[in-house]
Symmetry: C2
Subunit: 336 residues, 2 copies
């Protein structure tokens, strides 16, 4: 092949916010795929808050990335060589290809994506893991009913934007919580949320009291911390909290802070339930078809925040934790 | 009537552990019952951890006790005078009669109890609110299946003892968490729990790892704090946590501490759900009949920790928070 691959490999387990030296930027020759494998040229890499958790030691819903291993990431790419009958050269595929320019991957762990249906980055967004997370987390775990008040944090992020839009499709009163006026404007004006709360400038508890006077029926939590505690004070009887993530807590050096208002679950006969999107893998296809239909009908909008250049990975990832992205953060590695 | 009543009235909202001066001990003449009312001689008063919450200002599942009001408490007593056709003098009744010697109460808020079926204090215990709380919290919210690992904290208390015994009846592997060797011995040797963990001497996390090697399926939490955090590290996939109370946190002067390990809910697709027993009022009768059957068959044992003398109320209540009671704490006010 005589192709050189560059990649980011985990060098150290971060303490607090990840830094450049937590990865090694390495170079190696690309190997030929074996039987059942594909050689993929990586085009777009998904940058997700969950990646921070994968860098930590210890048991979670997925094993941590090992020291010296290529940093785990979902990505879309183009097949350069195939040793599997179901894939042809030129096919576009999604897989956990990692933070690198080329990947040799098992064909059965990849899936085809179609750039005629949606631009490739959308397969890392609404038609990919964030979209699936939003769809199943909201509908299966949160179980909103028409007319109920649905609140989502990280509202302008990849998952939050989809949660809010699906909740609107379901006939709910939707309030997003996000940091900054631009994000708040985006989810209300462009995505059709009923209202947004800028947690950096507003008292979330007081704002919710006004925006959801009968209490919050479903809260989809992507952030944890103070925002979770504020929403806990405003639950309606029988509220459902979906625990999807806790981005405000991932880089704490003194551990995760628990929700001090959790006894509101008791007072309000409410529940808090965790979800991991992988559990719904058998239903991804159905969800993607339904969401593609909503997208085609203009009812579900997708927005990607694309940054170019594999070598920018360490800095670009931090945009998530600094709240600098609107929509899905994607790293563009190559054009075609 | 010319009968003098003594009572404890809330004088101040406690900061931290309640103290004697948070109540006034008052004296007044008993008034005649009006139409639809009963005059009740209070015999046994239920002392419950929830009483601490009722002393705080602010919204909860029930309004707080007002300053100057008789301290709220469930109790059993004997009807001295009745202005309601369904009650006769001499009937024994349960009601929210308060911490006092005599109560004038609305007949429709009381219910008859039968000392021929069980001793009167049992109506404040297994056949009363603690028993109902355990029954519905475990069976309706926790939904244990035969063979699952059920863990209960406050295991030697009024609710915990019933939770563990019902879980055994349901065919579960039952581990109690309690403070001190005597309580641990009691729940294993006398009540038939499979094992107990003395949280004062043992590392709860390590002990659970050994006693529930496949993880905890149902956790019935009465205590919150460190014990809740330890159990969160040992959840099985799909675990259900019943939030019934948090006695370790009620007297904190710096607020409730949230469970820092709550993201284990995500990793394990687990849920945490609050419950308030009043929601099940329509089914109390059925539950009491089933539990009375279990008691008659020797499968469900009841133990009351009875302290005599209304005037001891402030000190006796503190036994709950000091962990000094085994079984249901009851204040005996009069013999008959």
């Amino acid at each position: 092949m005589n192709v050189t691959n560059h990649q980011f490999r985990l060098a150290a387990r971060p303490v607090g916010m990840p830094k450049r030296s937590d990865w090694d930027y390495t170079e190696e020759a690309v190997r030929e795929p074996s039987d059942g494998e594909l050689l993929v040229k990586v085009l777009y890499i998904s940058l997700d808050p969950a990646m921070r958790g994968w860098m930590n030691e210890g048991k979670s819903y997925i094993p941590p990335v090992g020291i010296g291993e290529v940093m785990r990431a979902g990505a879309v790419g183009r097949v350069l060589a195939s040793k599997d009958a179901t894939y042809a050269v030129g096919d576009h595929v999604y897989g956990t290809f990692g933070v690198q320019e080329y990947a040799v991957a098992k064909a059965r762990s990849a899936s085809k994506v179609d750039p005629r249906i949606a631009p490739l980055p959308v397969y890392l967004d609404t038609l990919g893991m964030p979209g699936m997370t939003a769809y199943f987390g909201l509908l299966d775990v949160g179980q909103p009913k028409a007319g109920e008040a649905v609140v989502v944090s990280g509202a302008a992020g990849a998952v939050g934007t989809v949660v809010g839009q699906i909740a609107k499709i379901e006939g709910c009163h939707v309030v997003g919580i996000a940091g900054g006026a631009e994000k708040c404007r985006y989810v209300v004006d462009d995505l059709g949320f009923d209202a947004a709360i800028d947690y950096k400038r507003e008292d979330v508890k007081e704002a919710l009291r006004k925006l959801c006077p009968r209490g919050v029926d479903v809260y989809f939590d992507n952030v944890g911390g103070d925002v979770l505690d504020a929403v806990l004070t405003q639950l309606a009887r029988g509220a459902r909290i979906v625990i999807c993530g806790a981005i405000s807590q991932y880089n704490n050096t003194d551990g995760v802070r628990g929700p001090k208002n959790y006894l509101s679950l008791l007072v309000n006969r409410a529940s808090m339930k965790g979800m991991v999107v992988f559990d719904y893998a058998e239903r991804y296809g159905d969800a993607a078809r339904e969401m593609a239909g909503w997208m085609a009908a203009g009812r579900l909008k997708s927005r990607e925040h694309i940054v170019e250049g594999l070598e920018t990975f360490p800095d670009t990832l931090l945009k998530l934790f600094k709240g600098e992205n609107i929509g899905k953060l994607v790293l563009k590695v190559a054009e075609v």
